[in-house]
């Protein structure tokens, strides 16, 4: 990781047994096996994406961030909260990058209360600004899983299908029986996934199991990032959700130049209920159905309920439907040929190498993941395409 936060003085950090990391694990002790399992999971994720599954493209995701006392723990540097928020910023950007027609909302919970940081919206800027603000807040009290879940489930009803909880504390302070709430969530078909920052908590296990979400606990910061990125990809749509056609509007951006005398500045409809500073703007997107004006896309029209997107947005989610096919994995010993990764030009040192089925180029594990997760197209194939 290039952006590793500058670590505090060595003696301020927790007690670390650094020599154990260096230990060779021939005996198959704990570290080796768990890492092996993790590696398998990593690969599996790549494969999983390639089944013929329907993906939910229009995502409505609420992220609940624990900001209770335990977030001050320094096992992530400089502390859990700062680290989490930093990763969250990254996550929000990535999320909108890969799910352009989706929306996100953020909730924090501390001191036995839940606070809605941002409402469901498709605009990354607003979320990023809100996240930046939280950094300075103090972490106090206990979180309340019930309150924060309730905060999501109650008002908006059917719209939301996913909740991601980043849970650091080992306790939760609930005003009522949480199992009842889990049943409600289940009935509403809301998937709740949890990323734990300290250890596996039973109530979260049940919560995720009942609602069909995933539950992961981080090992360190890079693993945390990896887990977060798992949630960037749209989840497979449950077979029960009916396949419906969605009406969408593709509004054109009308730019009124300042020189145009007829142009009158006007408010965007999205400012109606937001508390942000209302700005008068000249141009904007106009809903093709009711002519309501919006400054940003994607958005759901406040007047007629039409989903407004722009064509490039849609195009970007295309690769989720037609992902790059998985590369073939072969053990290094069996591989004959040049021992260089086609992408990074580094030497192949891992246990296995990966071959693109189309162009027969060879890649290392890291590049394989990078190609499938980020590029979505094989550099080898691109090259051959151009030359031919």
């Amino acid at each position: 990781m290039d952006e590793e936060p500058e670590r505090a003085k060595r003696w301020e950090g927790g007690y670390e047994r650094t020599w154990e990391v260096l230990k060779e694990d021939e005996s198959g002790s704990l570290k080796a096996t768990v890492e092996d399992i993790l590696f398998q999971a990593k690969r599996k994720r790549v494969f999983e994406g390639h089944g013929q599954v329907r993906l939910g493209m229009m995502r409505h995701l609420f992220v609940i961030i624990d900001s209770s006392r335990s977030m001050e723990d320094q096992d992530l540097k400089p502390n859990r909260l700062t680290s989490t928020l930093k990763l969250m910023e990254f996550f929000v950007e990535e999320y909108f990058d890969q799910n352009p027609i989706s929306q996100i909302g953020i909730i924090t919970t501390k001191n036995k209360r839940a606070e809605k940081l941002t409402d469901l919206a498709g605009n990354p800027k607003k979320h990023l600004a809100a996240l930046k603000k939280v950094v300075d807040s103090t972490c106090v009290g206990e979180p309340s899983l019930y309150n924060s879940l309730n905060c999501v489930a109650l008002p908006s009803g059917t719209e939301i299908k996913e909740i991601l909880v980043i849970f650091s504390s080992l306790t939760t302070c609930d005003p009522a029986n949480i199992y009842e709430l889990i049943k409600t969530l289940n009935a509403l078909k809301i998937r709740v996934s949890v990323i734990g920052l300290s250890a596996e908590v039973r109530v979260c296990t049940i919560l995720t199991r009942e609602t069909g979400g995933s539950y992961n606990v981080i090992l360190d910061e890079s693993h945390f990032k990896e887990l977060l990125m798992l949630h960037v990809k749209p989840p497979p749509a449950s077979s029960s959700s009916e396949c419906s056609l969605i009406r969408m509007g593709f509004p054109q951006h009308v730019i009124a130049s300042m020189s145009d005398q007829d142009a009158k500045p006007s408010f965007s409809m999205s400012h109606l209920d937001s508390t942000g500073e209302p700005g008068l703007t000249l141009g904007g997107y106009y809903c093709p159905q009711c002519r309501a004006k919006y400054t940003e896309l994607p958005v759901e029209c406040k007047v007629c309920g039409l989903t407004l997107v722009s064509a490039p947005h849609l195009a970007r989610s295309f690769h989720h439907l037609f992902p790059l096919e998985a590369f073939q994995e072969t053990p290094l010993e069996e591989y004959e040929g040049e021992r260089f990764c086609e992408a990074c030009q580094g030497e192949l040192k891992d246990k296995s190498v990966f071959t693109c089925l189309a162009c027969k180029k060879v890649f290392c594990v890291e590049c394989d993941l990078f190609i499938h997760d980020t590029l979505h197209c094989c550099p080898g194939c691109m090259q051959t395409d151009r030359t031919s």
């Binding site: 002790s29 096996t33 080992l170 609930d174 199992y179 300290s198 250890a199 039973r202």
Partner: protein
């Protein structure tokens, strides 16, 4: 699937098998083949019960003449139910496989309290009350009276059973307690007596230890069980204590007072009967002159399990003349009672051997050894003759008579200790006569002698060689099995120091030390911040726990802990504890954040981490214990210290063993005492724990423990699927048959 274990085809009702289960079955098979006894240790949560059941059932089916019956002894009612549940699964599988009708009869047996379906009787709360009430409705003379006087109440279920049910065999099947009750209700038969009469021809009987070990009960229930049975003692790590308890007698002043009233009632009844029905007493007298020949014949023909309370000498002789008539016997009991009363009137502790006691009683009140020996038998006969309905009322005098018989029968293995007051409350006079058994082999001897195979098994039996020694038997197999794991799911840590480097120990000299208590508190506090769900904290004793908790409260540690977890303190009363747990269950399972302070191995399973504060040595100043240690040294050449450590370590192992329920579970085991790091303590832990105790996890500070614990918990929280286990710690049939797996399995068992 079907397994081939050393030539025996075993049906195993699950798709996968753990390697250690296979190994366990191999050893078990060897034991049965040799018709000998075995001691087998296998970690909890690795499917001991099902391995035992499936192998023995297969053995029974293959060699119906060699092994006719399986007697499975467990400790508690829930455990019994669990065994029957597993058995049902197995039998379902059998019927599915063979499609033949099941001809196996298996049933659970418990006390009347758990089996009674009589509307009035079953509503009573205590086992003793139920027994007494039941007896007053079903005793033979009550029923005889009912014949002439229909207003005399009887139990219609028993009547029905006696009239019809005795001849009819219960249809084959698996019956747990509720099934028996349902069956009883449907037929209108008493389930308790039905079960008791059915165990004679049942293939599998599941009941609690006492039915076999306690001479009073065993005599009633188990004495006719076939010789070719296999007896299994599950969770047998405490078996020596059960044996000792079943043979020991404690007599307080209250017992004597109640005994006094018993004697008076007897006397009154005798004089009344003498006026009305003198012939009856005559008849009894005649019978007594003839002696107990009947019982003797039975023993010689090896029909019955011998009863340690009924020594051989009695059977060969007639009841001595001095207590043959009812009045004489009552007078005799009175004298004995007065003597005991006098003995209790003391101001200092007395300890004496049985011969000393007998000599003293002869000198003081001229009671001979011989009539004393017949006391229990004589009383039984008298109670039968006098037709006294409510046996429960006579528990005091029965106790005394048992004491009399035991004290005059055994020269060795027993000691008498009379304490004028309890050590904790030296000002309150509460004299107790402890007649304490020091040799567990006395109670269990008939079991080993009678049945062809006795298997002693538990999750924690280390060190294995000590059980055969203290129970005085020669096993053919002694083996300990480890857990094969795909990931290291247990993490034993020995914490020896606080962050201030002060040694943490519950050693007597330093246990009240402020720094030690504070460090213990800090350990718990820090752990409570990183361990999810529950923590179970064990203390060496209730008093120590109370002291420490009080001191934590003063230091404010408790308050800090409460910010992380709910705190739940167990009381000495097991019933109360489980009650409180039930009430709080909703709260607990909802939040799953609590710490339980306790002393006994837990009745619940909520812990992700178990902390044992100190080494749970027993109270070494107790005179009973001292006497026992001395006896062990003289008779079995077991040094005091060895035994104490053994006892402490099995207790500790029991406590931490509860952290893990199965292979997919995981848990921290924290031993908070620096003495655990010593080789003599560490070496006595079960092998499956020892294996994971590396040098790096010894003598840690609190900080290091927290760091290791945190790391461990995160590692373990990573997704873990069945596929990861397959081939390593979970095998399919094909994998099992592979050559190199078989080799690996051979290494699992270690004698």
């Amino acid at each position: 699937f079907r397994l081939n274990i050393d030539g025996l085809l075993v049906c195993f009702p699950y798709d996968y098998i753990y390697p250690e289960q296979y190994s366990y079955m191999l050893e078990l098979k060897r034991t049965l083949d040799a018709k000998g006894h075995g001691v087998l240790e296998m970690p909890s949560g690795t499917g001991k019960t099902i391995s035992l059941l499936s192998l023995i059932v297969a053995y029974q089916k293959a060699y119906p003449l060699e092994v006719t019956k399986l007697i499975y002894c467990s400790r508690t009612v829930p455990e019994i139910e669990k065994v029957v549940e597993e058995l049902k699964k197995l039998m379902d599988y059998y019927t599915k496989q063979t499609e033949a009708k099941n001809d196996f009869l298996a049933l659970a047996l418990s006390s009347r309290k758990n089996l009674c379906i009589h509307p009035e009787v079953s509503s009573l709360r205590f086992g003793k009350e139920v027994d007494g009430k039941c007896h007053s409705l079903t005793a033979s003379y009550i029923r005889a009276q009912h014949h002439c006087n229909p207003s005399q109440p009887v139990c219609q279920f028993y009547e029905e059973f006696d009239a019809v049910g005795r001849q009819v065999l219960i249809p084959p099947g698996i019956y747990n307690l509720n099934d028996l009750k349902d069956f009883g209700r449907r037929k209108g038969w008493c389930p308790y007596f039905l079960a008791r009469s059915s165990i004679l021809h049942a293939n599998i009987v599941v009941y609690s230890y006492n039915y076999l070990l306690d001479p009073k009960i065993a005599d009633l229930v188990s004495k006719e069980l076939a010789k070719k049975s296999v007896v299994v003692f599950d969770e047998a790590h405490n078996i020596d204590n059960v044996c000792i308890d079943s043979m020991s007698v404690n007599i307080t002043r209250r017992t004597l007072d109640r005994c006094q009233t018993n004697v008076e009632t007897l006397q009154n009844t005798i004089s009344r009967i003498k006026e009305t029905d003198a012939a009856k007493l005559q008849e009894e007298y005649r019978r007594l002159v003839e002696g107990l020949t009947e019982a003797n014949v039975a023993r010689e023909t090896d029909m019955y399990l011998s009863n340690p309370v009924l020594p051989d000498e009695i059977l060969q002789e007639a009841v001595p003349g001095s207590i043959r008539t009812a009045e004489h016997f009552v007078g005799f009991m009175k004298r004995f009672l007065e003597y005991l009363k006098a003995r209790l009137r003391i101001h200092h502790v007395v300890q004496e051997s049985t011969p000393q006691f007998l000599k003293d009683i002869y000198e003081k009140v001229c009671i001979d050894r011989k009539p004393l020996r017949f006391c229990a038998e004589r009383l039984r006969s008298l109670l039968r003759t006098l037709e006294i309905a409510d046996i429960a009322d006579f528990s005091a005098i029965t106790l005394i008579s048992h004491f009399a018989t035991l004290v005059s029968t055994y020269n060795k293995g027993f000691t008498i200790i009379i304490e004028p007051f309890e050590d904790r409350t030296p000002t309150i006079a509460n004299p107790v006569l402890h007649f304490s058994c020091m040799d567990p082999s006395i109670a269990i001897k008939p079991v080993f002698g009678r049945f062809q195979s006795v298997i002693i098994t538990s999750g924690t039996l280390s060190p294995l060689d000590i059980y055969p020694r203290i129970l005085d038997f020669r096993p053919v197999t002694v083996a300990s099995f480890t857990m094969t794991l795909a990931r290291t799911c247990l993490c034993p840590l020995i914490v020896g120091r606080g962050n201030d480097q002060v040694a943490m120990t519950s050693k007597f000299e330093t246990r009240e030390d402020f720094a030690v208590i504070r460090n213990y508190g800090n350990l718990l506090l820090e752990m409570s911040a990183i361990v999810p769900d529950g923590i179970v904290a064990f203390f060496t004793s209730y008093i120590y726990m109370e002291n420490i908790v009080a001191s934590w409260y003063e230091q404010g540690i408790l308050e800090n802990i409460q910010r992380n977890k709910l705190i739940f303190i167990e009381t000495q009363d097991a019933a109360e504890t489980s009650m409180a747990l039930m009430l709080n269950k909703n709260k607990i399972s909802c939040k799953r954040l609590f710490i339980s302070f306790s002393f006994q191995p837990p009745v619940h399973h909520y812990g992700r981490a178990v902390i044992v504060f100190g080494v749970p040595y027993v109270y070494t100043q107790s005179r009973i214990l001292k006497a026992r240690l001395e006896y062990l040294r003289d008779q079995f050449q077991i040094r005091e210290n060895d035994f104490l450590t053994f006892d402490a370590m099995r207790h500790a192992a029991q406590c931490v063993g509860r952290a893990i329920r199965g292979k997919t579970d995981y848990g921290l085991m924290i031993f908070a005492d620096k003495r655990y790091a010593r080789a003599d303590k560490r070496g006595k832990l079960p092998r499956w724990i020892q294996e994971h105790l590396t040098d790096g996890s010894l003598n840690l500070t609190i900080d290091e423990t927290v760091q290791l614990g945190k790391h461990f918990l995160r590692q373990m929280a990573q997704p873990f699927r069945q596929e990861d286990q397959l081939g390593l710690s979970l095998l399919t049939l094909e994998q099992l048959q592979s050559e190199d797996m078989l080799q690996k399995i051979a290494q699992i068992a270690q004698a």
